[in-house]
Assembly symmetry: C2
Homo-oligomer: 357 residues x 2
DNA sequence: CTGAAAGCGCTTACAG
DNA sequence: CTGAAAGCGCTTACAG
């Protein structure tokens, strides 16, 4: 087996020769620029097709002085650790494609402020980008935005949050509902009793979005109801912006019932872990989300049993590479890309740290 | 964030003009090729220095006709599904770097035949490769091979199997011992009893290597002995090259004990699943390796409970990209890269299929 | 609608 | 020791 360039590798010169035209005409066909006689066009297209021609991107980059702008509009990661992860992946991708005259412009907005989102999308358009990657956190503003994109014929990719009836090139994100089911299954297996008492605890800080959290809980509940008919579930929101209040709230909840398992549908599971540890509660199966540093700590201490993880760096990286490949090679891209739902336990978490890209 | 390229972009032409020489001479200085008068050399070097010149790597790639050969020596995937996976990743990487004049030559050997390995390593050397990726399945032959590589100053990367006292640039593979521990932990959690009876079943076909299998079992046993002191383990090899014999063997084993859990340290767990299903054994926790099609089937049917997976496509892909980056950018590379130990269950397996690269 | 030619920044023979 | 020139595969402006 051998990757033989001399078989696969054919350039516009050779295509021109086969089609009996000049390379200029081949170029016109490839880029849809200028007028080409329909028969000539057909001929050239057919040769391109049957020869598996792929443009030499190195030559293209060298000869073309065009800079290609990609605009990225995502929440900032100030007070918002999660978004630093896709950002990391995006930056890595940006570095890789800068050699090809692709400039990735990252515009971050305050995700508690719709106006800042609108402002950044406007800025994005002003960059005259050839492609856009963004997170449609605000629905109606997002629809306005994609209308503009479609008017201007700018392909866009959705990151982390999806949008119905949108003509996006692709969506990169998580299947949050399914990840909730995974969590429920793990809990069921670990408890292995017919009448478990399960807490769903949602530690929140005032501005946090509950988009994914709600979907995860939905999947979690669906699974439980179907597979553990006699389960008892207590659902509580814990405002952790004030330590004392949150402790009191937890104390109250635990007075009424003692849970067998706890499901935390967001990354702030470390907060619950800390409280369980401080209050010497043991033997409760605890499941949460995201392998952030604090969660790794409580996993090592065996207070957190499972973390569900969804490779946000990967999603960021892949979304940029996808728009790059789409623009460069006109490659078809899957309309939807869900990253794997990783199950993390004490014994394997180390292999997921700094390892995702 | 923005990458501004237009600052101080100076090329050899401009350097030549400033130094009052031709671009050929500038090139000689840059690459230390050919003779240059000491004063001329100084002059040019000084201009390069003060102008922050960096070579345009895109132009370099385009103009240089030098083809860089990378030799890959791995087992063939005839009758050996596993090796089709790294192969897939390798081919994908090969496609990506072919534009940079990198040719990846894949040489596959029969992994039950040391001579075929030796022959392929010899062929690899004849390609005059700038880098090598290979799987050192035969120890002494591998040491001979790396001695040749070191003599010829060819950097090499190990794939899937590691080698002590080797000066490889990097190793891409699995931490098989740890993955066995993960399996044991999952089994412990699922059973949750103090005196479980556990079978380790090893379905083999005559020529299969037991390298990883042995390490997985080692990790598995270590974890059990430490964490379930009263466990009873029965360890059996099942030759599945003959259906009837293997069925009889299994029947015999199950006559003596009824296991609570079964650990299969290789990908042929589907064979055990099939047998359990046919004989109507239920409620036995079954753990195996690798998300191959047959295993997905039995996972869907809830006969296989867990699969441990190690992204072999990824390993193949990354090993090639690593040698490419090493040669192109002289980038430092981690000496060792373990892929994550993925835990696959019925609820998440779909997200791992065709999704790894 | 089409072709011929210059040029992107470098490498590589070749000639002196 | 050095320079002049061709060429890598593509894009781009120009001429017809």
């Amino acid at each position: 087996m051998k990757t033989d360039k001399n078989i696969n590798k054919i350039g516009i010169k050779e295509i021109a020769r086969l089609a009996n035209v000049s390379i200029g005409t081949v170029d016109r066909v490839i880029h849809n620029r200028g007028q080409v006689a329909p028969e000539t066009r057909q001929m050239v297209l057919q040769i391109i097709e049957s020869s598996n021609y792929t443009p030499n991107i190195v030559a293209r980059t060298l000869s073309s002085k065009k800079e290609t702008n990609i605009a990225v509009v995502i929440p900032d990661s100030i007070n918002n650790f999660y978004w630093s992860l896709p950002l990391k992946g995006i930056q890595k991708a940006a570095e890789e494609i800068v050699h090809f005259n692709f400039n990735v412009h990252i515009l971050t907005f305050d995700y508690s402020d719709e106006n800042s989102f609108i402002q950044k999308t406007n800025e994005a358009i002003k960059l005259n980008p050839k492609g856009i990657v963004f997170s449609p956190l605000f629905e109606s503003a997002s629809y306005n935005f994609i209308n503009v994109c479609q008017d201007k014929n700018i392909p866009y990719i959705l990151l982390d949050v999806s949008l119905n009836n949108s003509k996006h090139v692709s969506y990169f994100g998580q299947d949050s509902v399914q990840s909730g089911k995974v969590a429920a299954k793990l809990l069921k297996t670990s408890l292995n009793i017919n009448n478990p008492i399960i807490f769903i605890l949602k530690p929140i800080i005032k501005i946090a979005s509950t988009y994914h959290s709600d979907l995860r809980q939905k999947g979690f509940m669906e699974y439980l109801q179907k597979n553990i008919p006699n389960v008892k579930v207590c659902d509580n929101i814990i405002d952790i912006s004030n330590e004392e209040n949150s402790n009191n709230k937890l104390k109250e909840i635990f007075k009424i019932h003692m849970p067998h398992g706890i499901f935390v549908p967001n990354s702030r599971v470390y907060h619950i872990a800390q409280w369980l540890y401080n209050n010497n509660y043991k033997g409760i199966v605890l499941i949460g989300y995201d392998l952030i540093e604090q969660n790794a700590y409580w996993m090592e201490k065996e207070v957190i049993d499972y973390l569900i993880c969804q490779k946000p760096e990967d999603q960021g990286y892949k979304s940029i590479m996808a728009i790059f490949n789409f623009l460069t090679y006109k490659k078809n891209i899957e309309n939807k890309y869900y990253s794997p739902i990783d199950i993390i336990i004490k014994e394997n978490y180390k292999y997921y740290i700094n390892n995702s890209i």
